[in-house]
C-alpha cells in the first residue's frame, strides 16, 4: 500500500498534459480574486458586528441581574423578608434567591423560593456579575450570575440572582446564520458580475487579438482593426492600427528598395553581359584595349553600387558605433585632395576648426559623396565651407551647375533617385550617394538640405551638433 502522498504523485500521471500545465485564464483569476476579496471583507466585518451585537445582549442581561440583586438586597436589609419576593422586574428574568449563612434558601422569587439553592457562588467576588457556561445546578446553558452580601434581621444573608443568556445566544446564532446567508448571496453576485464584466472586456481583447492574428496570417498590408469608442481598448486599437500602418509603410519601403536594388544591379550586369556577348559572338569587331577598359569600367561601377548597397544596409537607422571627436576642417582638407575633372576647380572657402563627435570614416564619406555629386554638375567651381555656429557645425558644398528644382530638393535624398539628365553625364553615380549622405547625417543626429546657390547652382548644407565640450583639437 502506498501512502497518500505517493499515491497523489502516481495519480497525476493519468491527467492529460493540458490539464497539468493548466493555468487559470485572466477571466477566472479576476472573478476569483474579486470573490475572495469580498469574502475576506465580509467575514471580518461580519465577525466584528456580530460580536458587538452579542456583547450588547449579554450586557443587557448582566445589568438586569445586577440591578435585581441590588434591589432585593436593599429590600432585605430594610425590613422583614417577604416570601416569595415580589420581583421588581418582569417575572422570571432574572431569578433571585436569598440564602442564610448556612446556605439554605430562605426566600426567593415566586418561581425559585421553594427550589433548591440555584448555585453555590463560592469564589465569586461580591458585587460583580460573571457569566458561567454549563453551570451544574442550573437549567441554563449559559447564564449571568451575581451574589450580594447583606444583613437581615436574622443575621448575614446572601442575595443571589441569575439571568439566562440562552436567549441572547440563540439570537446571535440566528443573526450569524442570516448574515452568512446574505453574505453568501452577495459573494455569488459579486463573483458573477466580475465573471461577466471581465468576460466582456476580455472578449473585446480576444476580438482584437484574433483580428491582428488574421492580419498577421494573411500579411495584408492594408489590414486594420476596427476602431470604435474611446476607452482604453479603443485606444489600444488605435495604437495597434498606427503600428500596423507603420509596419506596412516600412514593408512597402523595403519592397520598393529591393525592387529598385534589383533593377539597379541588373542594369550594369546587363551591360557587362552585352559586352561579353559581343566578344563571344563578334570577336573581330572589338578592339581588345577599348573593350577591356569598358569592361573594367562596368565592373568598377557594379562594385561601387554593391559597396553602396551594403553600406546602406549596414547603416539602416543605427547610430555610428564610433563616436570620436573629429575636426571637420581636417576632413575637408583631406576631401579636397583629389583629382577634379578638367576645367573644374575644387576649392575650400572658410574652414573653421569645428569638432563633432562621430565616425571619421563616415564623416569623410559624407563629404566625398557631396563633392562627387557637386563635381558631376559643376561648370567651373565647387566650393566648400565649414563653420561653427549656435552649437552646430555647418558644412556646405556649393557648385555652379544647373541647380536643383525646388520640387526635387527633398526627393533627391531618396534612394535611386536620379533627376532627369543626370545619368547621361559620364560617370553618373550609383543613385545611392545622396541617400547615403542623408542616412549618415541622420545617424549623427544632424540634418542635410539642398538649396540653391547665388550662382544658380546647388548648395548642400550639412548641420551636425558640435562636440559637447570644446576640446582643443588633436
Amino acid at each position: 500500500m502506498s501512502t497518500n502522498a505517493s499515491a497523489a504523485v502516481v495519480d497525476t500521471a493519468w491527467l492529460p498534459e493540458s490539464l497539468l500545465g493548466w493555468r487559470p485564464g485572466l477571466r477566472l483569476r479576476y472573478a476569483a480574486m474579486a470573490t475572495v476579496f469580498a469574502a475576506v471583507t465580509f467575514t471580518a466585518g461580519g465577525a466584528v458586528a456580530l460580536r458587538l451585537y452579542h456583547d450588547n445582549l449579554v450586557s443587557t442581561v448582566e445589568t438586569s441581574v445586577h440591578s435585581a440583586a441590588r434591589a432585593i438586597a436593599a429590600a432585605v436589609h430594610r425590613g422583614p423578608l417577604p416570601d416569595p419576593i415580589p420581583m421588581p422586574v418582569a417575572s422570571g428574568v432574572p431569578r433571585v434567591q436569598v440564602l442564610d449563612a448556612a446556605g439554605r434558601v430562605i426566600s426567593g422569587d415566586p418561581a425559585s423560593a421553594d427550589a433548591p439553592p440555584m448555585t453555590r457562588l463560592a469564589g465569586i467576588s461580591l458585587n460583580t456579575v460573571r457569566t458561567v457556561s454549563e453551570p451544574t445546578n442550573l437549567p441554563e446553558h449559559h447564564a449571568a450570575v451575581t451574589a450580594l452580601l447583606t444583613t437581615g434581621s436574622s443575621g448575614p444573608l446572601t442575595v443571589e440572582a441569575v439571568g439566562s443568556l440562552d436567549a441572547a445566544d440563540a439570537k446571535t446564532s440566528t443573526a450569524i446564520q442570516l448574515s452568512a446567508l446574505a453574505g453568501g448571496i452577495c459573494l455569488a453576485v459579486i463573483g458573477l458580475v466580475a465573471w461577466v464584466t471581465t468576460g466582456r472586456t476580455l472578449r473585446r481583447v480576444e476580438r482584437l487579438r484574433s483580428q491582428v492574428s488574421t492580419i498577421t496570417a494573411t500579411e495584408d498590408p492594408a489590414g486594420r482593426v476596427p476602431q470604435s469608442g474611446r476607452d482604453e481598448l479603443a485606444r489600444l486599437g488605435v495604437t495597434l492600427n498606427q503600428m500596423l500602418a507603420t509596419l506596412a509603410r516600412s514593408a512597402e519601403r523595403h519592397k520598393r528598395f529591393a525592387a529598385d536594388a534589383a533593377h539597379e544591379l541588373r542594369t550594369p550586369i546587363a551591360g557587362l553581359s552585352a559586352a561579353i556577348d559581343l566578344a563571344c559572338f563578334h570577336p573581330k569587331t572589338i578592339d581588345q584595349a577599348t573593350w577591356t577598359a569598358e569592361l573594367a569600367e562596368g565592373h568598377r561601377r557594379l562594385g561601387h553600387l554593391v559597396d553602396d548597397l551594403l553600406e546602406l544596409a549596414s547603416l539602416d537607422g543605427d547610430a555610428p558605433k564610433l563616436r570620436q571627436p573629429t575636426n571637420l576642417a581636417h576632413i575637408v582638407t583631406d576631401g579636397t585632395r583629389r583629382p577634379a575633372p578638367p576645367g573644374v576647380d575644387l576649392q575650400v572657402g572658410t574652414a573653421q576648426p569645428v569638432v563633432v563627435l562621430g565616425d571619421p570614416r563616415q564623416l569623410a564619406r559624407i563629404l566625398t559623396n557631396l563633392v562627387d555629386n557637386a563635381l558631376r554638375h559643376a561648370q567651373r567651381t565647387v566650393t566648400l565651407h565649414v563653420i561653427g555656429t549656435n552649437g552646430y557645425a555647418v558644412l556646405s558644398v556649393t557648385d555652379d551647375g544647373p541647380g536643383i528644382p525646388v520640387a526635387d530638393r527633398q526627393r533627391i535624398f531618396d534612394r535611386f533617385v536620379r533627376l532627369d539628365g543626370h545619368r547621361a553625364r559620364p560617370g553618373g553615380g550609383s543613385g545611392l550617394g545622396l541617400a547615403l549622405v542623408h542616412d549618415m547625417v541622420a545617424a549623427h543626429a544632424g540634418t542635410v538640405t539642398a538649396t540653391g546657390s547665388a550662382s544658380g547652382g546647388a548648395t548642400f548644407i550639412v548641420r551636425l551638433p558640435l562636440a559637447p565640450t570644446p576640446t582643443t583639437d588633436t
Binding site: 533593377h263 541588373r266 551591360g271 559586352a275 563578334h282 569587331t285 569598358e294 569592361l295 569600367e297 547621361a424
Partner: protein, 227 residues
C-alpha cells in the same frame, strides 16, 4: 538590299555600345539614343523597322515614349528591354503598345531571336487603344468611352465591341460573331447576338444619332463609317 534599321534607346553606355556593335555586326543599321526625348525625336524623324527600348530613361521613360509613338499612329514594332521584371511592369509595357518585353540581363542570341520574330511580324495591325468615331476602347485598362462618357459594359458586351472595333469596315455574320465572341462551347441560340448588339447600341449611341453598329440586312453587322 537595304539594311534593316533599328533604334536602340538605352542610357547605360556599356550596354548601348556593346549591343549596338553586336547588332551592327549582325548586319542591322543601328541608331542609339541615350535618353527618352532623343529616342522619341529620332523615331519620328526616321523610318525604323524596330525599336529596342529601355524603360528607366532620363528625359522620358520608356512607357511614355511607347505610348507617345502609338499616339502619333506609329506602329513600329517595339521591344522593351528593361531591368524592371515585375508582373505589372511587363503588363504595363505591353499595354502601352510594346510588342515584346524582355527582362535584363538577356542573353544575346535570345534577344536576336526575339528581334527576328518581331521583324517577321511587322508593324502591329491594331494600336493599344482602339478608336472608332466617338467610341474609345482601352482593352489593357478594360475601359470604354463614348464621347467623354465612361460606358459600363459587361464582359460579353466588351468582347463583342472589341471584336467589331478590331475589324473596322468588315461586315460580320451573326454566326461569325457567335463563334468568335461566344466561342465554340457557348454558341447556342444565334438570336443572342441581336440581343447584345441592341444592348451595345443602347449604351453607346447618344439619343437621336445614328448607331455605331450598322445592321446589314440579310448579312449581319458592321461598324458604321465614321464621317
Amino acid at each position: 538590299m537595304e539594311k534593316v534599321r533599328i533604334l536602340l534607346v538605352e542610357d547605360d553606355e556599356l550596354l548601348a555600345a556593346s549591343l549596338g556593335r553586336s547588332l551592327r555586326a549582325e548586319g542591322y543599321a543601328v541608331d542609339i539614343a541615350g535618353d527618352g526625348l532623343l529616342g522619341l525625336y529620332l523615331a519620328g524623324e526616321n523610318d525604323y523597322d524596330a525599336v529596342i527600348l529601355d524603360v528607366l530613361l532620363p528625359g522620358m521613360n520608356g512607357y511614355r515614349l511607347c505610348s507617345g509613338l502609338r499616339a502619333r499612329g506609329q506602329q513600329v514594332p517595339v521591344l522593351m528591354l528593361t531591368a524592371k521584371g515585375g508582373v505589372y511592369d511587363q503588363e504595363e509595357g505591353l499595354d502601352t503598345g510594346a510588342d515584346d518585353y524582355l527582362v535584363k540581363p538577356v542573353r544575346y542570341p535570345v534577344l536576336l531571336a526575339h528581334l527576328r520574330a518581331l521583324l517577321r511580324r511587322g508593324p502591329a495591325r491594331l494600336p493599344p487603344v482602339l478608336v472608332h468615331g466617338r467610341v474609345v476602347m482601352d482593352p489593357g485598362r478594360h475601359r470604354c468611352l463614348s464621347g467623354d462618357d465612361e460606358v459600363d459594359l459587361t464582359p460579353r458586351e466588351f468582347a463583342l465591341l472589341r471584336y467589331l472595333l478590331s475589324y473596322p469596315g468588315v461586315t460580320h455574320t451573326s454566326r461569325e460573331l457567335l463563334d468568335h465572341v461566344w466561342g465554340e462551347h457557348d454558341s447556342g441560340d444565334i438570336n443572342v447576338v441581336q440581343v447584345y448588339v441592341r444592348a451595345l447600341r443602347r449604351k453607346l449611341d447618344p439619343p437621336g444619332r445614328e448607331s455605331v453598329i450598322e445592321t446589314i440586312r440579310g448579312v449581319g453587322y458592321r461598324l458604321a463609317d465614321v464621317n
